[in-house]
C-alpha cells in the first residue's frame, strides 16, 4: 500500500525526473554540487539553477492556480511581465534620485499594473466565459507593442546600484538576491494558501463549477481572483527579470516563458484541465526544466540538436505522467507485489487490488 501511495503522490514523478537529471549531471562530473564563495556570494551549479529559474518558478505558481480554477492556461504571462516591468522602469527612471524607496514604490506600481492585467484577463474568462487561451491571446499579441510604447520606443537602461544589486548580489549577503526574492515569494504564497481557503475554492470551481456555486462559492470571483494573483506573479517575475537584465528589452524580455510555465505545471503532475493541484509539483517542475536545459548544455549536446533533445525528453516525460501510463504502472507494481507476497496472503492482496483499482480509475476520471 505504502509504495502505491508514493506512486500516486503527485510530486513523485517530477522528483524522480529531477533525481535522474541530477544523476546524469553527477556522472558527467562529480563536482556537480561543489560550491565556492566568489565576491562574497555562494557560487556553483545549484545557485546558478536557483538563480536562473526564479522567474519561471514564480510564474509556474500563478499558472497552477489559474489552471486549477479555470481549466485553461494564461499564455500572456511573459508579455504581462514585460508590460509591468516597463512601467517599473519608467517610474524608476522618472525619479530624480534612485533610492530604495523609489524602487519599492515603482515595484508596487508595477504590481498594480499586474493586477489590472490579471483583472482584464480574468474578466474575459470568468464573466464572459472566453476560453482562457483565447482571452489571453489578445495580450499575447498586442502586449509587447504596449510595452514598447511605455518604454518610449527605446530599450531604457537601468544602470544604477540598487536595481543592479537586486538583480545580482547585495554586498554582505551571501546569496544572490533573485534567489532570496523567490524564496520569500514561495513562503508568502504558501502562507496565503495556508490561512485562506483559496486552494479549496479554486479546486472546487475547477472540478465542478455548478457544484461549487450550489455550495456557496462564487466561481466568477474565484476565477477572477486567481487571474489577479497571476497578474501579481507576472509583476514579480518581470521585476526580477528586468533587474537581472539591467535594461528593458520589450522584444526579448521573458520571451517564450509562458510555454515553460505551462510545461512546469504539467510536469508537476497537475491536470491542465483544472481541478486538484499541487504547487510543490509545479515548483519542482519549474526547477526540472531549468536543470534539463543546463544538463543538455553540460553534456555539450550540439547547438543544432539541443532543441530536439529537449523535445524528446519532454515527450517521454509527458507520456510517463499521463493517466494511462500511471494506471498501467500501478497495475504492474500490483502484479509484481502479488507475485512476491505469493499465495500466503492472497485474500489481502486481492482486496488491495480492488481498492487500488478504483483509486486509479477515479484519478483518470478527474483528469479527463
Amino acid at each position: 500500500m505504502n509504495k502505491m501511495k508514493i506512486w500516486n503522490y503527485q510530486a513523485f514523478l517530477p522528483l524522480l525526473v529531477l533525481a535522474v537529471l541530477i544523476l546524469i549531471n553527477l556522472l558527467k562530473g562529480a563536482d556537480y554540487f561543489s560550491i565556492s564563495i566568489i565576491n562574497g556570494a555562494i557560487y556553483g551549479n545549484i545557485p546558478n539553477i536557483l538563480f536562473g529559474a526564479s522567474e519561471l518558478v514564480i510564474l509556474a505558481i500563478g499558472m497552477t492556480l489559474v489552471t486549477s480554477s479555470s481549466g485553461g492556461q494564461d499564455i500572456s504571462v511573459g508579455v504581462a511581465a514585460t508590460i509591468t516591468s516597463s512601467v517599473f522602469v519608467r517610474v524608476v527612471l522618472n525619479a530624480h534620485e534612485v533610492t530604495l524607496m523609489t524602487v519599492v514604490g515603482a515595484f508596487l506600481v508595477s504590481c498594480l499594473v499586474g493586477i489590472a492585467i490579471g483583472a482584464f484577463n480574468g474578466t474575459l474568462v470568468a464573466i464572459f466565459n472566453v476560453q482562457p487561451m483565447v482571452a489571453t491571446l489578445i495580450l499575447f499579441t498586442a502586449g509587447r507593442s504596449i510595452a514598447f510604447l511605455i518604454d518610449g520606443r527605446l530599450s531604457p537602461i537601468l544602470a544604477n546600484r540598487i536595481t543592479n544589486q537586486i538583480g545580482s548580489v547585495i554586498p554582505g549577503v551571501p546569496v544572490q538576491t533573485p534567489i532570496l526574492l523567490t524564496v520569500v515569494f514561495i513562503i508568502l504564497f504558501s502562507i496565503l494558501l495556508k490561512i485562506t481557503n483559496l486552494k479549496l475554492y479554486a479546486q472546487c470551481v475547477g472540478i465542478n463549477q455548478k457544484a461549487a456555486r450550489l455550495n456557496g462559492i462564487n466561481p466568477v470571483i474565484v476565477k477572477l481572483l486567481t487571474y489577479i494573483i497571476l497578474g501579481v506573479c507576472s509583476a514579480v517575475a518581470g521585476f526580477i527579470a528586468v533587474t537581472k537584465a539591467g535594461r528593458h528589452d520589450s522584444v526579448n524580455l521573458l520571451r517564450f516563458v509562458e510555454m515553460d510555465a505551462i510545461l512546469a505545471v504539467a510536469i508537476g503532475g497537475n491536470a491542465l484541465s483544472g481541478g486538484k493541484f499541487s504547487i510543490t509539483g509545479s515548483v519542482i517542475g519549474a526547477y526540472t526544466i531549468e536543470v534539463l536545459n543546463r544538463t543538455l548544455l553540460r553534456l555539450e549536446v550540439g547547438t543544432e540538436t539541443i532543441k530536439a533533445f529537449k523535445a524528446v525528453f519532454i515527450i517521454i516525460l509527458m507520456i510517463l505522467a499521463s493517466p494511462v501510463a500511471r494506471g498501467t504502472a500501478a497495475k504492474a507494481v500490483q502484479w509484481i507485489r502479488a507475485r512476491c507476497t505469493g499465495i500466503v496472503r492472497l485474500p489481502a492482496s486481492e482486496k488491495a487490488e480492488a481498492s487500488e483499482g478504483s483509486e486509479v480509475d477515479l484519478s483518470v476520471e478527474k483528469e479527463v
Partner: protein, 330 residues
C-alpha cells in the same frame, strides 16, 4: 465691372496653376514597406531613419507601411504600385512570395530597392538591394581579435537564432578561423530564437562549471554579450580592457558602446540600420539623369574597440537608449 472680375479671376487661376506646378513638381513619390518598429531596437532606428530622410523637406512624398505580416506587406506594396509611386522600398518579412509584386512593379515602371533584407528572387526583378554584410562583420571581428596578439585564442561562441542571416554570416568567420587553426572553439552555444541574454548566460555558466579555459567571448549580439559578461562577473572572472577574457558584441547598441568605452567590454561591431541616406542619394542622382546601382550593395560598417571609440560614434551610429557617459550596463 464684369470684365475686370473675369480678368482678375483668370489671373488668379493662372497664378494658382503656376504655384501648384512649382510646389508639386519636385516631390518624388516613394512607397516604403517595412517591418514594425517594435520588432527590435534595430528596426526602431531603421524606421526613424526612413521617416527623417524621406520627408517633405527633402523633396519626398513618402508613405510607409510597417507590418511584420508578409501578406499585409505584399498588399501594401501592391497598393503603392497602383497609386503610381516612383520608387518602392521593401524590407520583406519573409524572403519568398514577392515575385508577383516585383513583376507588377516592373510593368508599372516602378523602381524597386530592397533594404536590410534580401528576397529570394531573380536579381533582374529589382533594381538594387542595400544590406549589411554579415560575413564581413564577422571577418572584421575575427581579424580584430587575431590582431590582439593573445598567447592563445580559446573562444566561447554564442550564436543567435540558428539559420538567420546574421547568425550564419557572423559564425562563418569564426568557423573559418578555427578550420585554419588560428583559434579554438571551446564552447559553442546559442541564445536561441530570441537571441536571449539568459540563454547566453547559461552557456557561459556551463563552460565555467565544466572548467573550460577560455579567453574570448564572441557573442553575436549585444544582449547575449551582456548575459555572458554577467556569468563572468558572478564567477569572478575578469574581462574587458585589463581583464582575462575579451568580450566581442555586435549591433552597436549604445549601452554596449558605453561598455566598450569604459573598458568593460573590448569590441563591438556595427550593423547599421540607416540605409535611407544612401538610397536617397541614389534616387536624387537618378533624378538628375545618372544611372542607378544594380544588384546587391553592401553597407559600409565599422568596428570599435576601447581605443577607437568616441562619443560622436556612440551618439550618431548607436541604436537604442544611451545610458550616458561612464555608465556601465552590467
Amino acid at each position: 465691372m464684369a470684365f475686370s472680375i473675369k480678368r482678375i479671376l483668370t489671373v488668379f487661376v493662372l497664378l494658382l496653376a503656376v504655384t501648384g506646378l512649382v510646389v508639386a513638381a519636385p516631390l518624388i513619390k516613394v512607397g516604403i514597406v517595412n517591418l514594425p518598429p517594435e520588432e527590435s531596437g534595430y528596426r526602431q532606428a531603421n524606421v526613424e531613419d526612413m521617416n527623417t530622410v524621406f520627408s517633405k523637406a527633402n523633396g519626398y512624398d513618402a508613405r510607409q507601411t510597417n507590418t511584420g505580416d508578409n501578406s499585409e506587406q505584399i498588399a501594401a506594396a501592391m497598393g503603392y504600385i497602383r497609386d503610381g509611386v516612383d520608387y518602392l522600398l521593401i524590407s520583406a518579412a519573409n524572403a519568398s512570395g514577392w515575385d508577383t509584386v516585383l513583376q507588377s512593379a516592373k510593368k508599372a515602371g516602378v523602381i524597386v530597392f530592397l533594404f536590410d533584407r534580401l528576397i529570394q528572387t531573380d536579381p533582374s526583378n529589382y533594381q538594387a538591394a542595400l544590406v549589411s554584410d554579415m560575413a564581413a562583420e564577422g571577418e572584421m571581428a575575427v581579424n580584430w581579435l587575431l590582431s590582439q596578439k593573445l598567447p592563445y585564442y580559446n573562444v566561447i561562441l554564442i550564436r543567435g537564432q540558428l539559420g538567420s542571416a546574421a547568425e550564419l554570416g557572423r559564425s562563418a568567420a569564426v568557423l573559418k578561423a578555427r578550420d585554419a587553426g588560428k583559434l579554438k572553439i571551446v564552447a559553442d552555444g546559442t541564445g536561441g530564437d530570441s537571441w536571449s541574454l539568459e540563454e547566453a548566460r547559461k552557456v557561459v555558466e556551463a563552460a565555467i562549471a565544466a572548467g573550460k579555459d577560455f579567453n574570448v567571448i564572441y557573442a553575436e549580439n549585444d544582449g547575449m554579450a551582456q548575459g555572458a559578461v554577467q556569468a563572468l562577473d558572478a564567477a569572478g572572472i575578469t574581462h574587458g580592457k585589463n581583464g582575462k577574457v575579451k568580450i566581442i558584441g555586435f549591433d552597436f547598441n549604445r549601452f554596449a558602446l558605453r561598455n566598450v568605452q569604459a573598458g568593460y567590454w573590448d569590441c563591438d561591431v556595427q550593423c547599421s540600420p540607416r540605409q535611407a541616406a544612401e538610397i536617397s542619394s541614389w534616387i536624387k542622382a537618378h533624378q538628375n539623369g545618372k544611372p542607378l546601382p544594380k544588384g546587391i550593395i553592401y553597407q559600409k560598417e565599422m568596428l570599435v574597440d576601447t581605443t577607437t571609440i568616441t562619443d560622436e560614434i556612440i551618439l550618431k551610429m548607436g541604436i537604442n537608449a544611451d545610458p550616458g557617459k561612464g555608465v556601465i550596463t552590467r
